[in-house]
């Protein structure tokens, strides 16, 4: 609760400062460029203050309400074990990505239904026990689907609405 008040107070103070700057800039100079530039930039700042305050508010809502924390914000899959070289696992743009130069050993389990795309250059990948050939695949994963990886190279798994093979 306090967090909301702090956010509101902070945003309001910054916005007041920006508006004061805009007003001073507009009224205290005869130089047209200075007046317009300062007014435009200060008002742009006010807009961004508002946008950032709104985004922070949404983040607070997500964190502070436990229901959403278990559905929207949590990652769509987790790994039981993972041994990889030069890898990244996390959000990337509109999708959740697991990418690795070399995925030595890994077992991934999906936490919710989601479309996915999977590509790898070599090695062994089993989706629900069914072995796949190197290449690119897209599909719909269900909860508790497992992905078992052994010695895969150039591995990239995307999960999300925007997951694709191009």
């Amino acid at each position: 609760m306090i967090a909301y008040y702090v956010l509101a107070f902070f945003s309001a103070t910054l916005a007041a400062l920006a508006l004061w700057g805009a007003w001073l800039g507009w009224t205290r100079s005869k130089s047209p460029t200075a007046r317009y530039f300062v007014a435009a930039m200060a008002l742009a700042w006010v807009v961004f203050i508002g946008v950032e305050a709104w985004k922070s508010y949404q983040v607070f809502e997500t964190i502070l309400s436990s229901e959403l924390a278990f559905t929207e914000a949590a990652p769509p899959l987790y790994h039981e074990y993972r041994d990889c070289r030069v890898c990244y696992e996390g959000p990337a743009g509109d999708v959740y990505v697991v990418a690795a130069n070399t995925m030595q050993e890994a077992l991934y389990v999906f936490q919710r239904d989601a479309p996915y795309s999977l590509r790898f250059a070599s090695g062994q990948v089993k989706l629900n026990g069914r072995a796949l050939q190197p290449g690119c695949y897209t599909g719909e994963a269900r909860v508790k689907d497992t992905l078992e990886v052994t010695g895969a190279m150039s591995f990239r798994l995307e999960v999300g609405e925007e997951a694709s093979c191009d």
């Binding site: 130089s31 930039m41 030069v86 990337a92």
Partner: protein
């Protein structure tokens, strides 16, 4: 040009100090590399540490530029603001001298770091150091310098005691927010912007073992290829656009400062 010499003389301590700092650091790194044993990890780590420490020092240049300009209207050089020479000459001189200083400073840092990395066994494409230097200058250094000039001119455009600093600070923050928003929008929406190639960057075995990789050399390009398909060039174009726009604003402000 007299204006360029004036800028050099006005800021001789800052310019001399920055270049001296770069030179001393370069000399120390060269000595470190030449007198160290076969293990390159120490001086590679020291080099990276210094990169983080030396890079922010360049921020002094736009800050000093802004302070000098904001005091100009009430200082001994106030006649410059009402001189009949076009604003283009004045702003170009200040921008040019400041950008040249930053170019030399960061150029020295990049060159020494590239040599240290090569001595440590790291192999990279030959175009990587100049490309990184150019990217940094266009995407960050040039807009920062011109923003410092605009800040100082805004303060000078308002008579003392009539809110100059608040006005300039509000406008500057607006510019910074708009700049980052523009870069983000350009990176996300403008697909036609070229993506720069990922450079080869091979870390030798002795260093790679510290990262827990027992199997030979590690080429980061192969690894990064799975994660990203190139280096975005949106910051470069946004930096160019912003520098051009702010340069124009600075020109107009210079011409109009005497109206304040």
């Amino acid at each position: 040009m007299n204006l360029v010499m004036l800028e050099l003389r006005k800021h001789r301590m800052l310019i001399g100090g920055l270049l001296l700092l770069a030179l001393l650091w370069a000399a120390w790194m060269v000595r470190l590399v030449l007198t160290s044993g076969p293990d390159p990890f120490d001086y590679l780590a020291i080099n990276i540490g210094f990169l983080f420490a030396l890079t922010p020092v360049g921020l002094l240049v736009p800050v000093v530029l802004a302070r000098a300009l904001s005091g100009e209207a009430t200082g001994p050089l106030a006649f410059l603001l009402t001189s009949p020479r076009r604003g283009l000459a004045h702003v170009s001189a200040r921008f040019g001298v400041a950008l040249a200083t930053l170019a030399l400073y960061y150029g020295a840092i990049v060159a020494v770091s590239a040599w240290v990395a090569a001595s440590g066994g790291i192999r990279y494409d030959a175009w990587l150091p100049p490309a990184a230097w150019g990217y940094f200058l266009v995407a960050w250094a040039a807009p920062a310098v011109i923003l410092g000039i605009v800040y100082g001119l805004l303060v000078a455009a308002y008579r003392p005691g009539r809110g100059g600093q608040i006005v300039a600070a509000a406008a500057t923050l607006g510019v910074l927010k708009t700049w980052s928003w523009l870069t983000q929008q350009a990176a996300n929406r403008l697909d036609f912007l070229p993506r720069l190639p990922l450079p080869h960057f091979t870390v030798p075995r002795e260093v790679a073992r510290y990262l827990g990789l027992p199997t030979g050399d590690l080429d980061l390009q192969l690894g990064l290829r799975a994660v990203a398909d190139g280096v975005p060039s949106a910051p470069v174009f946004t930096g160019l656009l912003l520098s051009a726009l702010l340069f124009w604003v600075a020109l107009r402000l210079w011409e109009e400062v005497e109206w304040a």
